[in-house]
C-alpha cells in the first residue's frame, strides 16, 4: 500500500512510466508477440495427460467385429438415399428399429435470412432420425450421443453405416450405464441445432421444428463421425466449437490414448505429430498447427457437427476419417473398435468431464498450452493500452506530477460530455452495419444486378467504408471541440473502452481477442492527429479479417491468389452473418456493434482539427 499512499514513490513511478512510456509499450508488444510464438516451442508446453480417474486406470477391451457388415449397411443407405433424393427416413427408422432401438424422428424447417451460396440452400426442410439404446445397468439419467450427418452426394455414407453397425453391436452388450443416442442429422448444423434445441426445450434462434417425442438422460458427451471412404489413413480430431468454445481436454486425451492403443494415425488440424522439435522445421510445424487452431477458434464458427453441443455444456468433438495416399490403411473394423473403446470409457464416467482444462491451445495432439501460459501473451498487449491511458491521464494534468500532488489546482476536469456525440454516432454506424445488410437486401437486389448474398456482403462493406467518411461530416455539426485537449480525452476514452472490450473478448475466446489486440493495439497506442490514415485502414478490423483468410489458406497449404482471396473474404463475411442468425455465433455482432465503433473513435482522432 506504500505505493498507493506515499506521494514520493508514486511520483517516481509515474515519472518513470511517462518518460519511458513509448519504449515500454514497444517492448511489451514485441514481448507479447514473442511469448505467443514461443507457445508452440515444445519445451515450453505441457504434455497431455488423462486427468479423469474414471477414464484413466480402467482399460477396456474392444471386440467390435462387424466392420464389413457396417460398410454393407452404408452402401444400402447410399442406395436408399439416392432413391429418395435426400434422407431415407423410412429406411432408417426401419433399420434402427430392427436393431432394437427406440426410434423417433424430428422434422424441421428453416428459412435462411439470405441464400447460402457455399452450400446452396435457402429454404431448408429436413428430418432428424435418432434411436435410443436404453441403459440396462443404471437408472437412465445420463446419456451419450453418437452422430453421423446425412450429407448430400456420396459423403459420409460409411459414417452412417458404422453408426448403425455400432448400434447393433452395442445393443448386445450389457455394460451400458448411460443411454446411448444414435442420431443421423440432415443438413448438418441446422439439423443439429433443431435437435439440440428440441432436446433441451429451448429456442434461441427462432427456428421451426417439431418437438422430440423421446429423450434419454442428460447428455454427458457426444462424438460426431465423418467418414467417406471404406479405408482411411488417419483420423483427424476437430475440437473448435461455437464461439471458440472447446471441449474438455480429457476428450482429446481419450481420443489420443485409443489411437495409440489401437495403432491408428491421428492428427489435429490435419497435421501429424512430429518429434523433431529442436529443428526449425519441427518448430514451424507445431507453430503452424497452433496458428491454425487459433484462426479456427477466432472465427467463432463450429468446425464440425459437434460444435453446437458445447453450448449446452456437453463435451463434444468431431472425428473425421481422412484417406490420403499413404500406404498404411486402417479398416472400418478398427475405427469401430476405437469408437467402442471410447464409448466404454465415457460410459464409466461418474460425473461430467471437468477435471482437465477447458482453455487450451494445442500445438500437437500430445502437447497443450493452458490458459495460465497463453494469457500473459494477451496481457502484455493489453497492458500497453493501460499504460498509454495512464500517460494520457497524466498529460491531461489530472494528477499534476510535477509538484506535490493535489497542490497545483487541477486543470478543468476532462470534459467527457462533448464526447457523447462521437460515441453515439460511432455506435449508430455500428448498429447500421449490424442491421442494414440483411434488412436492405431486397432493395439492393432490385436496383443492382447482384444476387441476394452478394447484396448483403457488399452492403456490409459499403457501410463499413462509409463509416470512414464520418469524421469529415460530423466535424461540421459539432463545433467547438477541436482542441488538443479534446482529442486526448477522446483517446483516453477509446483506449479504456478498447482495453475492457478486448479483455472480455479474450476471456471468452482467447484467439479472437489476441488477433484483434495484435492489429488494434498498435494503432490505438500510437495514434495522434497527424498519423497516416493508410496505416489506420490497413490495421482496421475488416482488413484484419482479410489477412486472417489469406494466412489461413497459406497455413492449410492451399495458398490462393489475391483475387481468390478476395472472393473467399466475401464468402467469409456472408458465412459470419449466417452463423450469427442460424446458430447465434457472436463474432459478427461483436465486430459490428462494439469493435468497429471503437475503431471509429480512434479514426476520429486522426482527423481532429
Amino acid at each position: 500500500m506504500g505505493l498507493l499512499s506515499d506521494p514520493n514513490r508514486r511520483r517516481a513511478l509515474t515519472n518513470l512510466l511517462t518518460r519511458l512510456n513509448a519504449p515500454i509499450c514497444v517492448v511489451c508488444y514485441l514481448a507479447g508477440v514473442m511469448w505467443f510464438m514461443g507457445l508452440a516451442f515444445e519445451p515450453f508446453t505441457l504434455r497431455t495427460y488423462m486427468s479423469e480417474n474414471a477414464m484413466g486406470s480402467t482399460m477396456v477391451e474392444e471386440h467390435f467385429p462387424a466392420g464389413e457388415r457396417a460398410l454393407a449397411t452404408g452402401r444400402e443407405f447410399a442406395a436408399h438415399k439416392k432413391k429418395v433424393g435426400g434422407m431415407p427416413v423410412n429406411w432408417l427408422v426401419k433399420t434402427m428399429e430392427s436393431r432394437g432401438l427406440e426410434v423417433f424422428t424430428q422434422s424441421f424447417t428453416r428459412k435462411l435470412p439470405f441464400p447460402d451460396e457455399n452450400k446452396e440452400r435457402y429454404l431448408v426442410r429436413g428430418t432428424n432420425v435418432y434411436g435410443i439404446l436404453r441403459a440396462p445397468r443404471a437408472s437412465r439419467t445420463e446419456a451419450l450421443v453418437l452422430t453421423a450427418p446425412c450429407s448430400q452426394g456420396n459423403a459420409n455414407n460409411q459414417a452412417v453405416g458404422l453408426l448403425l453397425g455400432l448400434a447393433q453391436y452395442f445393443r448386445s452388450q450389457v455394460y451400458w450405464a448411460k443411454d446411448i443416442i444414435f442420431l443421423v442429422n440432415e443438413h448438418d448444423l441446422i439439423g443439429m441445432q433443431a435437435w439440440l434445441e428440441g432436446y433441451h426445450h429451448t429456442n434461441t434462434t427462432g427456428g421451426d421444428w417439431s418437438p422430440l417425442h423421446g429423450r434419454g438422460g442428460s447428455i454427458q458427451a457426444s462424438l460426431s463421425l465423418e467418414l467417406s471412404s471404406d479405408v482411411i489413413t488417419s483420423l483427424d480430431l476437430v475440437l473448435e466449437g461455437l464461439n471458440g468454445q472447446l471441449p474438455n481436454l480429457d476428450l482429446a486425451n481419450l481420443f489420443h490414448a485409443f489411437c495409440q492403443k489401437i495403432g491408428v494415425l491421428c492428427t489435429i488440424q490435419g497435421k501429424l505429430q512430429r518429434n523433431d522439435w529442436e529443428s526449425t522445421s519441427g518448430y514451424s510445424h507445431s507453430a503452424q498447427t497452433m496458428m491454425l487452431m487459433v484462426l479456427k477458434q477466432a472465427s467463432g464458427r463450429p468446425w464440425g457437427d459437434h460444435g453446437l453441443f458445447l453450448r449446452y455444456h456437453i463435451e463434444a468433438a468431431t472425428i473425421r476419417g481422412i484417406n490420403s495416399f499413404r500406404q498404411y490403411k486402417t479398416d472400418t473394423t478398427t475405427i469401430g473398435r476405437l469408437l467402442e473403446g471410447m464409448y466404454r470409457k465415457l460410459n464409466n464416467l461418474l460425473e461430467r468431464l471437468h477435471q482437465s482444462y477447458f482453455f487450451y491451445l494445442m500445438p500437437s495432439l500430445t502437447r497443450f498450452v493452458s490458459i495460465g501460459y497463453y494469457m500473459p501473451a494477451f496481457g502484455l498487449l493489453a497492458v500497453i493500452l493501460l499504460l498509454r491511458a495512464l500517460d494520457l491521464w497524466v498529460q491531461l494534468g489530472a494528477s499534476a506530477p510535477g509538484t506535490e500532488d493535489g497542490l497545483a489546482e487541477r486543470e478543468q476536469d476532462p470534459r467527457f460530455l462533448p464526447l457523447l456525440n462521437k460515441l453515439v454516432i460511432s455506435h449508430m454506424t455500428g448498429v447500421a452495419l449490424y442491421c442494414l445488410p440483411v434488412m436492405s437486401q431486397e432493395m439492393a437486389v432490385q436496383h443492382f444486378p447482384v444476387s441476394e448474398t452478394e447484396a448483403v456482403v457488399l452492403t456490409a462493406i459499403a457501410i463499413y467504408t462509409a463509416g470512414l467518411a464520418l469524421p469529415h461530416n460530423t466535424h461540421r455539426l459539432l463545433q467547438g471541440e477541436g482542441t488538443e485537449h479534446g482529442w486526448r480525452v477522446l483517446k483516453l476514452v477509446a483506449l479504456l473502452y478498447l482495453a475492457v472490450l478486448l479483455g472480455c473478448t479474450a476471456l471468452i475466446n482467447f484467439s479472437l481477442g489476441f488477433i484483434l489486440a495484435l492489429s488494434l493495439v498498435p494503432i490505438a497506442a500510437f495514434i495522434t492527429p497527424p498519423l497516416s490514415a493508410a496505416i489506420m485502414v490497413l490495421l482496421s478490423p475488416g482488413c484484419t479479417l482479410l489477412y486472417c483468410v489469406l494466412i489461413f489458406q497459406e497455413l492449410q497449404e492451399t495458398p490462393v491468389s489475391l483475387q481468390d482471396g478476395w472472393m473467399l473474404f466475401l464468402s467469409v463475411i456472408s458465412q459470419g452473418i449466417l452463423d450469427h442468425s442460424l446458430y447465434g455465433s457472436l463474432v459478427y455482432p461483436l465486430l459490428a456493434l462494439l469493435i468497429y465503433p471503437c475503431w471509429l473513435l480512434l479514426w476520429n482522432i486522426l482527423f481532429w482539427k
Binding site: 498507493l4 487541477r410 475492457v500 472480455c504 476471456l507
Partner: protein, 461 residues
Amino acid sequence: KFSHLKSYFESTDSPEHFLQNTKYNAGDADVFLSTKMAAPLTLLFIVAITIRAVLFRSSLADLITERVEVVSPLNAWKRVVEGLALLDLGVSPYAGDVFHETPLMIYFFHFVIDYAEIVFMVSAVCIVFLLQFRKQKYALEGDRYPLDCLELIRTPREMLYIPLKVAMFYLLNPFTILSCVAKSTCGLNNAVIALFILSTIKGSALMSAIFLALATYQSIYPLTLFAPALLYLLQRLYIPVNWRRPSFWLFTTQYVFMYLGSLAVMVCLSFFLLNSWDFLTSVYGFILSVPDLTPNIGLFWYFFAEMFEHFRLFFICVFQINVFFYTIPLSIKLKEHPVFLIFMQIAIISIFKSYPTVGDIALYMAFLPAWNHLYRFLRNIFLVSVVLLACSALFPVLWHLWIYAGSANSNFYYAITLLFNVAQILLVSDYFYAYLRREHHLTHGLYLKRKDGSEATLVLK
C-alpha cells in the same frame, strides 16, 4: 498525523455568523434552483424515466431480473411476488424459504402490486429530490482560515451545481437503472435512507429517528447511521459532545428513546399484521446468519461455501462485526463532520453487508459529486475507476463462462468480486484521506513549510 484538526466549536467565533452563511447559501440555492436549474433537472428526469420505461418494456428486463449482481435473495422481485401469492392464499409468506422481505413491505406491495413499475420509477426520482436538499445546507465556514486556503473553499456558485450533479449521478448511473428495471426492492430501501438523511439535515430529530428506525427495520445495517445522525443533531443544537454535560445526555437519551420507540412500534405492528414472530428469523436471521450462498458481488458467499461447518459461527461473527466495527473509530475521527460520516457509513455498509447489490453501491456513489471539492486531493481515482469499470464488464462475462459455458469456475467470478470490493474500499479510503487532508490544509495553510523553511509534503502512513 492529522491530529491538529480544529474543533468546530472552538474556531467559530459566533454561531450566528455560521447561521447567516447557511441562510445565505440556502436562500441563494433556492432562487437558483427555481430559475436556472429547473430546465436541466426536468430534462434529466424525462431522460431517466424514458430509459427505465423503455427497458421495462424490452426483452432485456427479464434478463436483468435474473442477474445476481442486481438482485439478491433479500430484494428479488420474484420473491416478493411469491410472498404475495402465499399471503393471498392465507399462508404465512415466510413458510418455505423464499421470501425475506419485512411484513410492512409485503403489505405495502399488497396495495401497489399493479403499479410496481411506477412505484420503482417514482422511488428513484424521489431519492434524487431527497438527496437534492441535503446539499444546500452543507454550508461553508467562511473567512476564518488562512488566506492561501481560499481556493480550497467552495464558492456558492460551485455548490449550486451540486444538486444537478447528484441527480445525474444517481439517475443515469447504470447501476441504479439496472436495479430499478429489475424491480429490486433495494431502491425502496435507498429511498428510506434518503428520507432519513433529509430529515436529519433538516434538523427534525423525531422524523430522523423514525426513518432511521424504518431503515433499520428494513435491513438492520443502517443501525450504524445512528452515530452520525446523533452527532449531526447535536451539532445543529450547539450541544458539544462532552460526557460531563447534562444537555448532551439529555438529548442523547431523547433520541435513543425516539429511535427505540419507533422501532418497537414497527416490530409490534409487523407482529399484529401477521400474527407470528416468523419474520424475525426469516428476515433478520437470514441477513445475519447468511444461509443463502447464491453468488453475488459481496464477500460472503464464496468464503462460506468453502468453509468447514464448525468454523461457520465464528467467521460469521467476524464478517458481520466488520460492518459495525468501523463506526467507532470513524465517529471519533469525524465527529465534527457527521455528513461525511454518513457517506462513509453507507459505503461501508454496501461493501460489507451480507447480500450486497449494485443498487446499494449506487446510493453512496450519488454522494460523490457532493465531495467534488476533494477531487484535487484524490490519489487513485484513475486506477479505481478503471478497475470498477473493468470489473462491471467482467461480471457478466465470467458468469457466462462459469454457469453457461461451464469452462470457467467459481474462482474466476470470485476473483473479480474481490477486485471489485478492493476497488470500492480504495475509493472510500481515498475520499476519507482527501477529506482529512483538506481539513488539515484548511487549518495549516495550503503550502506547508518544515521547521527549517523548506517545503514539506504530507505522507499518510
